[in-house]
C-alpha cells in the first residue's frame, strides 16, 4: 500500500475513561493510514444520574461508555472510519449502534494513570483473535468482524496502541482537572 492509499484510510480510536469526581470522559481520534490525525472529538464529562446508577447496575459502564459516549462521538465524526479500535472493553457495546467493525485491544496505553480508570464491562464473553501480534476482542454477536479486521489491519503497518496515548494527552488538555496532581 503506497502513501496515497494510506492517506485515504480512516481508522477510529475510541477511548472512555472514568474520573473519580468528574465522571466519564471519552475521546475519538480518527487517523489516516499514515497515523496522521484527521479528526478528534471528545465529550464533556458525563456523570450518570442516581437513577441510572441504580437501574443499570453492573451494566452502567457499558451503557455510558458504549451507548452514550461511543455513540455520541461516532455520530459527530465527519470522517467515517472503516474500523474502530478501542482500549475500553466497556465501549465495545457501541457496535450494536454502528456498522463499522469494532475491536478492543487487549492491552492499553497506560493503565497507571492514577486519576483516570477504565470503565469495566459486565461480562467476559468475547471473541478473541490475534492480528499482527495484537490481541483483539470483538463482541460475540459480531464475530464476523474478525475477518474484516484481520484483512484491514494486515495491510497496514501502524502501531495501533500508540494513538491511545495521544487521546489520553488530548483528554487531559481538554479537561485539565483530570491531570494527576
Amino acid at each position: 500500500m503506497d502513501s496515497q492509499q494510506k492517506q485515504q484510510i480512516q481508522i477510529g480510536f475510541l477511548t472512555v475513561r472514568k474520573h473519580a469526581s468528574l465522571g466519564f470522559v471519552g475521546g475519538l481520534l480518527v487517523l489516516n493510514g499514515l497515523a496522521r490525525p484527521v479528526e478528534f472529538h471528545c465529550t464533556l464529562p458525563v456523570m450518570p444520574t442516581k437513577a441510572q446508577q441504580l437501574l443499570y447496575g453492573a451494566t452502567l459502564d457499558e451503557f455510558v461508555a458504549g451507548e452514550q459516549i461511543g455513540r455520541a462521538l461516532l455520530a459527530k465524526a465527519k470522517a467515517r472510519p472503516q474500523i474502530v479500535l478501542t482500549d475500553t472493553l466497556a465501549a465495545l457495546s457501541v457496535r450494536h449502534l454502528v456498522d463499522s467493525p469494532i475491536a478492543a485491544i487487549d492491552s492499553s496505553w497506560s493503565k497507571n494513570e492514577a486519576t483516570l480508570t477504565y470503565p469495566q464491562p459486565s461480562h467476559e464473553a468475547w471473541h478473541r483473535l490475534s492480528v499482527e501480534g495484537y490481541k483483539l476482542l470483538t463482541m460475540h454477536e459480531f464475530a464476523s468482524d474478525s475477518k474484516q479486521l484481520e484483512s484491514f489491519l494486515g495491510s497496514l503497518s501502524i502501531d495501533i496502541v500508540e494513538p491511545f496515548g495521544r487521546i489520553e494527552g488530548a483528554l487531559m488538555e481538554a479537561h485539565p482537572a483530570t491531570k494527576a496532581a
Partner: protein, 599 residues
C-alpha cells in the same frame, strides 16, 4: 413523571406502594435490566398483586440526551512526504560511512527487538487555544513520522536529540542551549526539515558566524539532503538575488553580512517563517548594530542556538530574548524569576546528564615553571609594567592593564630573547608519544604568532594551521587534510577560528598552550574533539606557567566558576565566567580609578 435529572430517587415505602413503569427509549440494556428485574429476589411480586386496585404509573426516563462533544478536524494535517529523493549513498561523505554511530547500529542489528522510545510533541506553554494545543498533542510520535515519511539519517539520533526536535518543532520562540558537542546543529536541521516537509515553513533564514557557514552547508547535506540551501554571499548584486530567491527554502547568512545587507532587510520585502541564530551569544550586546539588524528581520518564528546563553551575566540571556520575544525579560529580574520565566523556552542538556556512556574528558594540569630565561624576562617585564601603570595614576585604563597582561602571557609562551619555552618542551615530549601511537592532537593558542613558532618547531609532525589567517574558502580543506592525511599529526588552532562549529572527534588529545580569558571559550575549543561520535576518552592538557599572571588569572576564574556553578545549579543555566574590569585591575593589585568607576 420522574425526570432522570432529579437529584435522587428514594426507595422508601411510599414509593414502593406505587407501581413503576420504566421508560428505556432505544436502550439496549433496558431489556436485560428488565429481565434481571423480574427474577431478582429483592423484587419478587407481592402476594395477590393482581387483585390490587389499579395503581398509578410513575415513569423513570433513563435515556439521556447524548453527551455534549467538542471536536476538531485537521484538514491540513501534515503529510511529511519528501518531494525529492535523497542523494545516492555514494555521494555521501566518507566520514558518514565510517560513523561510529553507524558501526554501533550494525552491532545492534542482532540484538533482540525492543519497543522503541516514543517522543511526543508537546504544545508550548504560551499556546493558549485548545485547538492549537491539541494539534500538537494529537500528532504521531516523532519516530512514527520519521518512519512513515521515510526520512533517512546518517545515523540514528539519540533519544535526547529527538526530545530536542520535539521541543523546537512547535515553538515560535526557543533557545536550544545544549552543551557543545551534543548536536544542536543536527537537531535544528532535522526540525527545520520536518517543518518544511509538513508545509509549516517555507522560508527559513539561518544566521551563523562566517567561519561556520560551510559547516552548516555540509550538515544540511548530511541531515536534510533533499532541502535546497542557498548561501548568501558574493557581490551586492548576487546577494540581492539570493535574499529574494524563492527557490531555496533555507538561506544561510553570516553575522558579518548583516551590516552590509541592512538595506535588503529594511526594505520590507522579506518575511521569513523562521529565523535561526547559531552561536546566538553573538547578539549578547543588544545595542550593537548587528544585534539591532537581526532583531529587525521580519519573521514568524525565532530560535536561538547557543552552548553558552550566559557568557558573562544574565544580561546576555535577556539580550537573546530581545530577539525571541522583545520585552519578555528585563535586566532587573531576579535570578529565580528569570529561571521561571525562561523554563518553557530554554532547553539545556549537558553531556554528563544525557551521554552517560560517552568517554570522559580527562584533564591534565600541566603547571610548569618558567625556564630561567623566561623567568628573567618575565620579572623584568612585570616590574617595568607595574611601575608604568602606577605612574599613569588616575589616567590608567583597562587597555593599559590588558597590554601588560598580554605581554606577560606571551613571555609565558616563549622567551622573546632566546625563544626558550617550558611549555614547548612539555608539548614536544607529549607529542612524540602521541604521534608514535598513531594519534593526532589539537593545540590551541590565542596568538597566531605562537602558532607560527610552534608550526616551525614541530615541522616533523607536518602541522596544519587553522586560524583567522586562513581564508574561509580553504578552511574545509585544512580540516579534511588533518582528518585524512596520516602524516599530519597536529593542527594548530586559534581560539577565535577553531573554538566553534568544528567536528574533530577523531582526535583524542587537546592542548591549551595558553589560556583564554573565558573558560566557556576553552570549553568550546575542547568540545571540538569531545563530542558525539568520540570513541575514546579525550585528554585535555591545560598548560599554565606557575607564579605568573597565568596562575593569577586561573585562580580568579576558578573562584568564579565555583561561585556561578553553585548559583546556577538550580536554574539549569550555564556558568558565567569572564573577568570583570575590577578583576583585571586586581591582577596587579590595582583598583579601578575613580573616574572609570563613575563612568
Amino acid at each position: 413523571m420522574l425526570q432522570p435529572d432529579l437529584p435522587k430517587i428514594e426507595f422508601g415505602a411510599s414509593w414502593y406502594e406505587e407501581s413503576v413503569s420504566i421508560d428505556f427509549p432505544s436502550s439496549l440494556y433496558a431489556e436485560s435490566i428488565l429481565t434481571e428485574f423480574s427474577v431478582d429476589a429483592c423484587f419478587q411480586p407481592l402476594p395477590n398483586w393482581q387483585s390490587w386496585p389499579e395503581s398509578k404509573v410513575l415513569t423513570v426516563a433513563l435515556g439521556q440526551p447524548l453527551p455534549k462533544t467538542i471536536g476538531f478536524s485537521f484538514p491540513e494535517s501534515p503529510h511529511w512526504v519528501k518531494k525529492v529523493e535523497p542523494q545516492p549513498k555514494s555521494n555521501q561523505p566518507d566520514a558518514l560511512a565510517k560513523s561510529p554511530r553507524i558501526a554501533e547500529s550494525d552491532e545492534q542489528k542482532d540484538a533482540p527487538k525492543q519497543t522503541p522510545k516514543l517522543t511526543r510533541l508537546r504544545p508550548p506553554g504560551d499556546l493558549v487555544s485548545l485547538e492549537d494545543r491539541l494539534y500538537y498533542v494529537l500528532q504521531p510520535p516523532l519516530e512514527t513520522i520519521v518512519q512513515s515519511a521515510e526520512l533517512t539519517f546518517p545515523f540514528q539520533p539519540f533519544p535526547y536529540q529527538m526530545e530536542g526536535i520535539a521541543f523546537l518543532f512547535p515553538r515560535a520562540a526557543a533557545v536550544l542551549a545544549d552543551e557543545m558537542g551534543l548536536g544542536k546543529t543536527m537537531q535544528a536541521i532535522t526540525t527545520i526539515r520536518m517543518l518544511l516537509l509538513s508545509n509549516e515553513l517555507s522560508d527559513v533564514l539561518l544566521i551563523c558566524p562566517k567561519p561556520l557557514v560551510t559547516n552548516w552547508v555540509r550538515e544540511f547535506r548530511q541531515w536534510a539532503p533533499e532541502i535546497p540551501v542557498a548561501v548568501i554571499e558574493g557581490d551586492a548584486h548576487r546577494r540581492q538575488f539570493i535574499w529574494s530567491n524563492p527557490q531555496a527554502p533555507v538561506k544561510i547568512a553570516n553575522y558579518e553580512l548583516m551590516m552590509r545587507d541592512r538595506e535588503q532587510i529594511d526594505n520590507g520585502n522579506l518575511d521569513f517563517d523562521l529565523v535561526v541564530l547559531d552561536e546566538a551569544q553573538r547578539i549578547k550586546n543588544r545595542n550593537s548594530t548587528t544585534s539591532e539588524i537581526v532583531r529587525s528581520i521580519p519573521r514568524k518564528r525565532s530560535w536561538a542556538l547557543t552552548g553558552t546563553p550566559i557568557e558573562n551575566s544574565t544580561e546576555d540571556l535577556v539580550s537573546i530574548f530581545e530577539f525571541l520575544s522583545p520585552g519578555y525579560l528585563n535586566d532587573d529580574m531576579h535570578l529565580k524569576s528569570l529561571g521561571k520565566a525562561t523554563r518553557d523556552y530554554v532547553l539545556r542538556r549537558t553531556k554528563d546528564k544525557v551521554l552517560t556512556d560517552m568517554p570522559p574528558k580527562l584533564f591534565r594540569a600541566a603547571d610548569l615553571d618558567l625556564t630561567p630565561e623566561q623567568r628573567l624576562s618575565y620579572k623584568a617585564a612585570e616590574e617595568e609594567g607595574v611601575v608604568q601603570l602606577n605612574d599613569l595614576g588616575e589616567s590608567v585604563t583597562i587597555q593599559h592593564v590588558f597590554e601588560l597582561v598580554l605581554r606577560l602571557k606571551q613571555i609565558c609562551n616563549f622567551d622573546p630573547l632566546t625563544g626558550a619555552s617550558a611549555k614547548y618542551e612539555r608539548l614536544e615530549a607529549d607529542l612524540e608519544e602521541i604521534a608514535a601511537s598513531g594519534q593526532k592532537a589539537i593545540v590551541f593558542s590565542q596568538w597566531v604568532e605562537t602558532l607560527d613558532i610552534l608550526g616551525e618547531r614541530l615541522a616533523k609532525y607536518n602541522p596544519l594551521q587553522y586560524s583567522g589567517r586562513i581564508p574561509s574558502s580553504k578552511r574545509d580543506g585544512v580540516i579534511d587534510q588533518f582528518k585524512n592525511d596520516p602524516k599530519t599529526k597536529i593542527i594548530l588552532m586559534s581560539y577565535g577560528a577553531g573554538a566553534v562549529g568544528l567536528n574533530l572527534q577523531f582526535c583524542h588529545y587537546v592542548f591549551l598552550f595558553d589560556r583564554w580569558w573565558n573558560p566557556a571559550v576553552e570549553d568550546q575549543a575542547i568540545n571540538r574533539a569531545h563530542r558525539l561520535g568520540v570513541k575514546q576518552a579525550v585528554t585535555v592538557t591545560r598548560m599554565m606557567s606557575t607564579e605568573t599572571i597565568e596562575e593569577r588569572i586561573h585562580n580568579v576564574l576558578e573562584e568564579k566558576r565555583e561561585l556561578f556553578q553553585s548559583l546556577f545549579a538550580e536554574a539549569g543555566v550555564p556558568r558565567s565566567m569572564g573577568l570583570s574590569q575590577k578583576e583585571i585591575f586586581g591582577l596587579f593589585g590595582l583598583s579601578i580609578p575613580a573616574v572609570k568607576r563613575a563612568a
